[in-house]
Structures are given as structure tokens and as C-alpha cells.
Symmetry: C2
Subunit: 186 residues, 2 copies
């Protein structure tokens, strides 16, 4: 009664702190090089507690890379290009901490690869549905490839010229690309 915060609330906070530390570690060095011990140290808890809460390293990773799911894409064809640019705009603007853990391990962790492929396939379907026609899916796959490539080169590889550019500069240069790919007749 005289406790300001309940036991359950305290536990919830500790769990959130562990999850945040795990996300950062997975984002920085990937699944294999992240250790339960390092996550625990970063969250100021005992390593055994991490296991107690999450069960296994795999389960912790699954929680860390889980993202709520994409919001539905408006299917207005006219503004699709601008929508794409705004998507990449915000993605480039934010530190993208939400997707970094998955991106970092997507080539070396089988489950991460599968999840990324599924995520790209979902986006692709939305784009293709918004612009039906010949080659719609292939065009859409190129769009998601470009979005992925730019994100990777900027945030993971950290190529100087791309890292130093503003989102506006990038979106302006990419506009003709997306315009070309959203037109059915080239």
C-alpha cells in the first residue's frame, strides 16, 4: 500500500531496460557477437536475470527485432512517388534504432534473414498493389532494393558522402528514380 511502485511495475521497468540494452548491442555488433553478459552489464542487472526473464538468447533476439508491423500504404497512385520519398525521408532522418538490430544481423542469422525477406515482400506487395500493371512486382522489388541499399550504405556502411548528406538532398536526387519505377510504361 505504501509502495509508490508495485513489484510488477518494477519488474516491467527492469525488463524494458534489458530489452533496450539488447537492442543496442544487437544493433552494434550483431547477434553472434552480442553476449548475454554484455547485455546484462549494460542494463546493470545480473546475467542470470536476463535468462530468467527471456528464457534464451534466441528468445531475447526475437523480442529485440520485433516491430509492430508497417502501417497500411495508401493506394493513391498519383502521390506514390512522394510517399516513397517521405518514407525514406523519415527513415533517413531518424536514427532508425528500431530496424538496426534486424538489419545488422540479416546476413548472418537465419531467422533475421527470413524476417527481412518477409518484411520486404510485404512492402513490395503494397507497392505493386498501388501500381498494378506489367512488371509491377519487379518494379516494386527494385524500389524496395533501392530503399534498402541507401539505408545500408548510409547507416551501416556509413559511406561519408551519404552520411553527410541531408535527407532532402537524397530524396531530391532519388525522385526521378522512383518516378521512373512507378510508371508502368517507360
Amino acid at each position: 500500500m505504501n509502495e509508490r511502485i508495485s513489484r510488477a511495475e518494477r519488474r516491467r521497468q527492469t525488463e524494458a531496460r534489458i530489452l533496450a540494452a539488447a537492442r543496442q548491442n544487437f544493433a552494434e555488433v550483431g547477434y553472434d557477437r552480442t553476449t548475454i553478459r554484455a547485455v546484462a552489464a549494460a542494463a546493470h542487472v545480473d546475467p542470470a536475470l536476463v535468462m530468467q526473464y527471456f528464457g534464451s538468447k534466441e528468445a531475447l533476439f526475437r523480442q529485440a527485432v520485433h516491430v509492430p508491423a508497417d502501417e497500411a500504404l495508401p493506394t493513391d497512385p498519383e502521390k506514390l512517388t512522394e510517399l516513397l520519398l517521405s518514407i525514406i525521408g523519415v527513415k533517413l532522418g531518424e536514427p532508425s534504432t528500431a530496424s538496426l538490430p534486424l538489419l545488422r544481423s540479416m546476413f548472418t542469422h537465419p531467422e533475421a534473414t527470413a524476417q527481412m525477406r518477409a518484411s520486404l515482400a510485404r512492402q513490395l506487395e503494397q507497392f505493386a498493389a498501388a501500381r498494378p500493371g506489367d512488371d509491377a512486382e519487379l518494379r516494386a522489388s527494385l524500389i524496395v532494393s533501392i530503399l534498402l541499399g541507401v539505408t545500408i550504405t548510409r547507416n551501416l556502411i556509413e559511406l561519408d558522402q551519404l552520411r553527410d548528406a541531408t535527407p532532402d538532398q537524397i530524396t531530391n536526387l532519388l525522385r526521378p528514380c522512383f518516378q521512373a519505377l512507378t510508371n508502368n510504361r517507360a
Copy 2:
């Protein structure tokens, strides 16, 4: 004298077989999940022999990801777009076994990240030199990002729609993108 192949020749062949096995392993599961034991088994040699020949796992990886260096890029601006398309055309055509080991580990192995960044920077400089002008380097960085993104989505993520497409289909759809990015005045 009656030996058809010399001792040195035999050793050279064994070393080549180990290196080929290492390339395949690194390409498939990345640096961390590749073990000396697995490489040795694939090459039908003793694990200790791998260490004897290459010194360490790091050294083996360095040899495996080493590529001769890119051929110089002709600086003819008129045909640059077609050149880009032919580059990605052959890259998409070949299994790309040469670059896969580096691509697979570029997010999780620090040295691989640095080497990929250096490689992209070199390509970028060549593109920028071929089309000087405003934003030349940023445009070039987007070009290499697109090339990287398409290669990744097709060969590492193996997105169905991109995996099933022919190099010609892909290059045809990408042509307007590269045309737009190689023009200085949009």
C-alpha cells in the same frame, strides 16, 4: 624425377582447395559461424593443416575476401549509363562468388566493413570523376547504393521477384534511374 607433380605443386593445390572451401563457407554463413574444422572437412584436410598454411582464422578470411581490385573505369560520360548497366548485368549474371564472402560478413566483421566501405568509395570516386559537377559525389554514392541494394536483395536476401528476373529485365528497368543520376542538371 619420376614424380609427375612436384611437392611444391601438390602443396599449392591443397592450399587452393582450402581457400576455395573457405570462400564457400564464409559466403554461406559468414565469418563468425565459419569454423576452421568445417573448412578443413570440406577441403578434406586436417584442421591443423589449415592453421599451418594460413596462420589464423583472421588471416584465412583476409585471403578469402581479397579481390584483385577493380579495373579502371573509362571516363566517357556519354556511355556511362550503359556501362553501369553492363556492370550490374554481369554482376547479376555470375553467381558473384568472388564478392559473396565479403558481402556476407560486411555488417558483423569490422575489417570486412572497412574493406567494403573502401571499395564503395573507390567506385564512387570513379563515377564522380566521370561526371563532374554539382553533387557529383552524392549522385555517385546513390548509384553505388542502388547497385549494392539490388545485389543484396537478389543474392543474399533472395527476394523471389528479384531472384527470378533476368539480368536484362532488371537493367532495362534501372536504365532511367541511372540516366537521371548521371545527369548533372535534373
